[in-house]
C-alpha cells in the first residue's frame, strides 16, 4: 500500500475506522480476564484511596483547625498582660491543609506543620509527621496520587505491550492493512483505545472527587479548587497520553511481546522509581543544606554581632538611644514621655527581621535551586514533570510551603510590632515592666488568616515542568508522523 493511498483516505472513513479500532481494543481488553480484573482492582483501589484520603484529609483539617482555634482562645484569654510578656508567650500558627490533599498529600507529612511565633526569636516550621514514623513510611502511602502516578501507567503498559502481537499472530493485522487501514490510523486507534481506558479511571476519580468536594461547600468555595481539580485531571490525562503513545509505538516496533514488556517495564521502573531518587540525590549534593543548629547559630551570631560582624547589639542600642533622646530632647530614657523599652525592642525586631531575610533568603534560594534541578530533569523524565505538577496543583509542594512560612513570618512581624508599639506608646513609662493592658485589647488583634496562593501562582513556579510535559507530548505525536510507520514495519 502506498503512502499516497494512505493519505488519500477521506476523513470520515478514517474516523469510522478509528472508532472501530478503539471499540475492538476495548472488547479485547475486556475479554482478557487478567486485564479486566486488573482494571477493576485498580479502579477499586482508586475509589478506596480517594474515599479514605478524603477521610484522612478531614481528620487532619479538623485537627489543625481545632489547634488553631485553641491557640486563638488561649491568646484571647491570656488575661490582663504586659505586651512584652505577651510577645514572649507568643502563639502558634498551623499550616492549613489543602482540600486536594485527599488526591495528592504531597510533602505534607515531610514538612513541618506548626510554627511558634514570639518576640526576639524566629522559629522554623516543626513537627513533620514522618519524623514519628518508621522507615515503612518511606515505602509510600496509599493515596490516589500514588495509584494515578504509578499503577495506572503500569496498567496501560500491560494493555499495550502485546497490542500488535495478537493481530500479528492471528493474521488479522495483515488483513486489516490489506483492507486499507492506514498504519498510522491503526497506531492512533490503539493509542486512543489505551488512553481511553485510563481516562475512564480518571473520570471515576474526577466524579468522586467532585462529589466529595461538594459535600464540604465551605472548603470548596471559590473557583480555585475547581480549577486545580480540572488542572490535575488535564495533567494526568496528558501524562496517560504520553504513556499510551510510547507503549503502543514500542509494542509496534518490538516484535517479541516479552521483550516489549521488559522494555516498557524497564522504562517504567527507571522513570518512576530510580530516576526521581537519583535526581533528588544529585540535587541534594549540588546544594547541601546547613544543619538547623548551625543555621540558628549563624542567625543568633549576626543578630548579636551585626550583619557585617562589626556592629554589635550594644553599640546599636546605644546609637538608637542617642537618636531617641535627641528626638525628644531629653538626656535620659527615664525622662521620655513614652516607654523606651518598647521602642528598643522593636528596633531589635527590625534588625532580627533583616537577619531572618538574609538567612532564610539564602536557605530558600538553595531550596529553590534544588527544586529547579529536579525540574530540569523533567525533560529527560516526564514522570518528574507529572509528580512536580501534581504536587503543585494539589497545593502541597515546596513552593507553597515556603509561601506559608513567609506569610506566617509577616504576621509575626505585624503582631510583635503592634505589641512593642503598645508597650512604647500605650501609656507606660520606661522600665515599667509590670504595666498591663486589658485582656480585651489582645482579642482585638487580628488573627492569622493564611490565604493559599492561586493556581496561576503555583503553575508559574513550575514553568519548566509545564514546558517539559508539553514537549514530551509533541515529541511523541511527532514520532507518530515519522515516515517509518509503514505497513511492513507493523507486520
Amino acid at each position: 500500500m502506498s503512502q499516497q493511498n494512505q493519505h488519500s483516505q477521506p476523513p470520515p472513513k478514517s474516523f469510522t475506522m478509528l472508532v472501530k479500532i478503539i471499540q475492538n481494543e476495548w472488547r479485547i481488553a475486556w475479554r482478557e480476564r487478567q486485564l479486566s480484573v486488573l482494571w477493576i482492582i485498580i479502579g477499586g483501589l482508586l475509589l478506596f484511596a480517594t474515599f479514605s484520603g478524603w477521610q484522612n484529609f478531614q481528620r487532619i483539617h479538623h485537627e489543625r483547625a481545632e489547634a488553631a482555634q485553641l491557640m486563638r482562645q488561649k491568646w484571647e484569654n491570656q488575661g490582663d498582660q504586659n505586651p512584652h510578656s505577651s510577645a514572649h508567650y507568643g502563639t502558634y500558627v498551623y499550616k492549613p491543609v489543602s482540600i486536594l490533599h485527599f488526591l495528592d498529600p504531597g510533602i505534607d507529612k515531610f514538612a513541618g506543620v506548626s510554627l511558634r511565633l514570639e518576640g526576639h526569636v524566629q522559629h522554623g516550621l516543626a513537627f513533620a509527621a514522618a519524623s514519628e514514623q518508621s522507615s515503612l513510611s518511606r515505602f509510600g502511602d496509599l493515596h490516589t496520587g500514588l495509584i494515578l502516578q504509578i499503577l495506572v501507567p503500569l496498567l496501560l503498559i500491560f494493555v499495550a505491550f502485546n497490542s500488535f502481537q495478537r493481530e500479528r499472530s492471528s493474521g488479522a493485522l495483515r488483513l486489516m492493512l490489506a483492507q486499507g487501514t492506514a498504519p498510522r490510523s491503526l497506531l492512533w486507534g490503539k493509542i486512543l483505545a489505551v488512553w481511553s481506558m485510563a481516562l475512564a479511571l480518571l473520570l471515576l476519580v474526577l466524579v468522586l472527587s467532585g462529589v466529595l468536594a461538594l459535600s464540604q461547600p465551605q472548603l470548596s468555595q471559590g473557583t480555585d479548587v475547581w480549577l486545580r481539580l480540572l488542572g490535575l485531571t488535564t495533567l494526568y490525562a496528558l501524562y496517560y497520553f504520553l504513556i499510551s503513545a510510547m507503549a503502543v509505538q514500542l509494542a509496534a516496533a518490538i516484535r517479541q511481546p516479552a521483550l516489549s514488556l521488559l522494555s516498557l517495564l524497564s522504562i517504567w521502573v527507571l522513570s518512576t522509581v530510580i530516576l526521581p531518587k537519583v535526581v533528588a540525590a544529585s540535587a541534594e549534593q549540588q546544594k547541601p543544606l546547613l544543619g538547623v543548629m548551625q543555621f540558628n547559630e549563624q542567625m543568633h551570631e549576626e543578630r548579636e554581632k551585626g550583619l557585617n560582624g562589626h556592629d554589635p547589639e550594644d553599640a546599636r542600642s546605644k546609637r538608637f538611644e542617642r537618636k531617641i533622646l535627641a528626638k525628644y530632647g531629653v538626656d535620659d530614657p527615664s525622662k521620655l514621655p513614652i516607654n523606651y523599652d518598647g521602642l528598643l525592642m522593636q528596633e531589635d525586631e527590625y534588625y532580627g527581621n533583616a537577619v531572618w531575610d538574609k538567612h532564610f533568603g539564602l536557605l530558600n534560594r538553595d531550596l529553590r535551586q534544588q527544586a529547579q534541578y529536579t525540574a530540569w530533569s523533567s525533560f529527560v523524565n516526564p514522570f518528574q514533570a507529572l509528580r512536580n505538577l501534581s504536587l503543585s496543583l494539589a497545593n502541597a509542594d515546596l513552593y507553597q510551603h515556603l509561601h506559608f512560612q513567609k506569610a506566617a513570618e509577616m504576621y509575626r512581624r505585624t503582631l510583635i510590632r503592634t505589641l512593642n508599639e503598645k508597650m512604647a506608646y500605650g501609656g507606660s513609662k520606661t522600665g515599667d515592666w509590670d504595666w498591663t493592658v486589658p485582656e480585651a485589647w489582645f482579642s482585638e488583634l487580628e488573627d492569622f488568616n493564611y490565604q493559599a496562593p492561586a493556581m496561576a501562582w503555583s503553575l508559574q513556579q513550575r514553568t519548566l515542568e509545564l514546558v517539559a510535559i508539553a514537549a514530551w507530548a509533541l515529541l511523541l505525536i511527532l514520532l507518530l508522523w515519522m515516515p517509518w510507520w509503514k505497513a511492513e514495519r507493523l507486520l
Binding site: 479514605s52 484522612n56 481528620r59 489547634a67 485553641l70 488561649k74 508567650y89 502558634y92 498551623y94 504531597g106 510533602i107 515531610f110 506543620v113 511558634r116 522554623g124 516543626a126 513537627f127 509527621a129 514522618a130 519524623s131 514519628e132 514514623q133 518508621s134 522507615s135 515503612l136 513510611s137 518511606r138 515505602f139 509510600g140 502511602d141 496509599l142 500514588l146 499503577l151 505491550f161 502485546n162 511481546p257 516479552a258 514488556l261 521488559l262 517495564l265 522509581v273 530510580i274 526521581p276 531518587k277 535526581v279 533528588a280 540525590a281 540535587a283 541534594e284 543544606l289 546547613l290 544543619g291 538547623v292 543548629m293 536557605l363 531550596l367 527544586a371 512536580n388 515546596l398 510551603h401
Partner: protein, 469 residues
C-alpha cells in the same frame, strides 16, 4: 548432568548481552548508591562534629575558670563567682546529646534524614519539647534516598525477575524443552538448576557490592553477616517466586507480567496498604497541641504558691527532698528546681500518649512484617545501620536519662546551698550513646520462613503440575 547444565547455563549467561548490561546496571547503581550515601553521611557527620566541637570548646574555656574558683575559694573575683551558681554552671557548659549512627548508615539512610539529631543537655530541656526541626527539602524527603539499601531492596528483585522469568518458558517457546526431555533431563531439574545458578550469581553479586560498600564507607564489619544473610534470604524469596511462576507452564510474557505484578505488590502496594492500616489504627498524634499545653503547664506551675510546689516535690522526689537542708531558708531560690522538676514530670505525663502511640505503631508494624517481607529486609539493613526510628527512640531515651542525671546533680548541689567548683563541674554529665540494637534475628527468621513456605509451594507445584511444566 547437573554439572553439565550448570556449565552450559553459565556460558549462556556470560554470552547474554542482557546479562552483562544488567551487571553493569547493578554495579553502576550500587556504585552510585555507595558514593551518594558516603557523601550524604560525610555532610551529616560534619554537622554533628561541629556541634560536638562546640562542647569541647566550651569545656576548654570553662575548665580553667573552675580551677581558679577552686583554688581561690572565697577570694575569687566577683565575676568568677557567678560561675559557681549551679544554674549558671549548667547553662554555661554547653553540652549536647548528638545522634550519630555509625558509618554503615551511609549505606542505609533509613530515618536518619528525618530526625533532628541534637539536643542540648540543660536543666530546663525536655526531649519531648524540642522545637528544633532539622532543615530539609521536603520534596527530597518525599523522593527518598538512593542508597545501597534501596538498591538491595528494590533493584535486586528486578534482577531475579529479569534473569528468571523465562527460565522454562523460553525453551518451551523455542521448542527445545521437548528435546531436553528426550535426553533424560526433567523440567524440574532444569528449572531448579537454573534458578539455583541465578540465585548463586546474584547473591555473590550482592555480597560483592555489600563488601565494597562496607570497605568504602569504613563500616563495622560485625554487621556484614547480617547484610549478607539478609540479601540471601531476600533473594531466596524472590527466586522462590520466580520458580513458582515458572511452574505454571505459561508463556514468557505472562510470567514477566505476573512477576512484575508481584514486585509491585510486595514493594509498593503491600507496604503502602500496611502503612495505611498502621496510620488508621494508630494515627500520629498532633504534637503541636501538646507543645502549647505543655507551655501552659509550665507557666501555671510557676504561678502556684511555693508551698504547694514544695509539697508536690516532696511527694514525687522524696530522695531529693530529703537532701534539702532543713529548715528551708530561701524557698524562692529552690523553687526554680522544684518548679522545673514538677513541670517536667507533668509534661512527660502529658506526652505519654504520644510515646505510647509510637510504640503501638512500631509493634503493629512488627507484627505485620510476615505480610510485608520488604519491610522485614529493610529493617535488617536500617536497624543494623542504626538509622531506624527504634534506634532514634533509643537515642532519645538515653538523652532523657542524661538530662535526668544532669538535673539531679544540679538539684543536689543547688538544694544543699552549695556552689560549683572544679569537682562539681567535672561531674556534670555528658551524653553517652546507647548501644546499637539491631533487629536482625526476628526479621531474618521472617524472611526465612516466608522463603521456606514459598519453596515448599514450588515443590508441591512441580509435583502437581509436572505435566504442565
Amino acid at each position: 548432568m547437573i554439572t553439565t547444565i550448570l556449565q552450559y547455563e553459565l556460558k549462556q549467561l556470560l554470552r547474554k548481552r542482557v546479562g552483562w548490561a544488567l551487571l553493569l546496571f547493578v554495579l553502576l547503581g550500587g556504585g552510585y548508591a555507595i558514593a551518594y550515601g558516603w557523601l550524604n553521611y560525610r555532610h551529616y557527620r560534619t554537622q554533628i562534629e561541629e556541634v560536638q566541637q562546640k562542647q569541647t570548646e566550651t569545656y576548654a574555656e570553662l575548665a580553667p575558670k573552675y580551677d581558679t574558683l577552686t583554688q581561690l575559694g572565697d577570694q575569687a573575683p566577683e565575676r568568677l563567682k557567678s560561675f559557681g551558681d549551679p544554674i549558671m554552671a549548667d547553662f554555661r557548659y554547653r553540652r549536647y546529646s548528638t545522634w550519630l549512627p555509625g558509618s554503615l548508615s551511609a549505606l542505609a539512610v533509613g530515618q536518619r534524614d528525618q530526625q533532628t539529631p541534637y539536643q542540648r543537655i540543660q536543666l530546663y530541656r525536655n526531649v519531648n519539647l524540642s522545637e528544633l526541626e532539622e532543615i530539609n527539602n521536603p520534596e527530597q524527603l518525599l523522593a527518598g534516598n538512593f542508597d545501597l539499601s534501596f538498591v538491595l531492596v528494590y533493584l535486586l528483585p528486578l534482577l531475579v525477575i529479569v534473569l528468571g522469568f523465562n527460565a522454562l518458558s523460553q525453551d518451551r517457546e523455542e521448542g527445545i524443552l521437548s528435546l531436553l526431555k528426550v535426553q533424560g533431563l526433567t523440567p524440574k531439574q532444569l528449572l531448579f538448576t537454573r534458578v539455583a545458578l541465578q540465585f548463586g550469581l546474584l547473591w555473590g553479586l550482592s555480597i560483592l557490592i555489600c563488601s565494597i560498600g562496607f570497605a568504602v564507607v569504613g563500616a563495622d564489619w560485625a554487621h556484614w553477616p547480617a547484610w549478607v544473610l539478609g540479601c540471601g534470604a531476600w533473594l531466596l524469596l524472590w527466586a522462590g517466586l520466580v520458580a513458582w511462576v515458572n511452574t505454571w507452564g505459561r508463556g514468557s510474557a505472562f510470567n514477566a507480567t505476573v512477576l512484575a505484578g508481584f514486585w509491585i505488590v510486595l514493594l509498593i502496594l503491600l507496604p503502602a496498604l500496611i502503612n495505611f492500616w498502621v496510620d488508621r489504627t494508630y494515627p500520629v498524634l498532633p504534637r503541636s497541641e501538646f507543645m502549647a499545653t505543655a507551655r501552659d503547664i509550665s507557666s501555671q506551675e510557676w504561678d502556684r504558691p511555693v508551698a504547694a510546689i514544695l509539697a508536690d516535690f516532696q511527694k514525687t522526689q522524696p530522695d531529693l527532698y530529703a537532701k534539702i537542708p532543713q529548715p528551708i531558708r530561701d524557698t524562692q531560690a529552690i523553687k526554680v528546681f522544684m518548679y522545673n522538676e514538677n513541670s517536667i514530670a507533668k509534661v512527660e505525663q502529658l506526652g505519654a500518649p504520644l510515646m505510647r502511640t509510637g510504640a503501638q505503631r512500631m509493634g503493629l508494624e512488627n507484627r505485620l512484617k510476615y505480610l510485608n517481607p520488604a519491610y522485614a529486609f529493610n529493617a535488617i539493613l536500617t536497624t543494623s545501620a542504626g538509622t531506624e526510628l527504634s534506634n532514634f527512640i533509643d537515642w532519645q531515651n538515653a538523652t532523657k536519662e542524661t538530662l535526668k542525671q544532669n538535673r539531679e546533680l544540679v538539684y543536689q548541689i543547688g538544694l544543699a546551698g552549695k556552689t560549683f567548683k572544679k569537682a562539681e563541674f567535672e561531674r556534670l554529665p555528658t551524653f553517652k550513646a546507647p548501644p546499637l540494637k539491631a533487629q536482625v534475628g526476628g526479621n531474618l527468621l521472617c524472611l526465612g520462613i516466608l522463603a521456606g513456605l514459598l519453596w515448599l509451594l514450588v515443590l508441591w507445584s512441580t509435583r502437581r503440575d509436572s505435566m504442565a511444566i
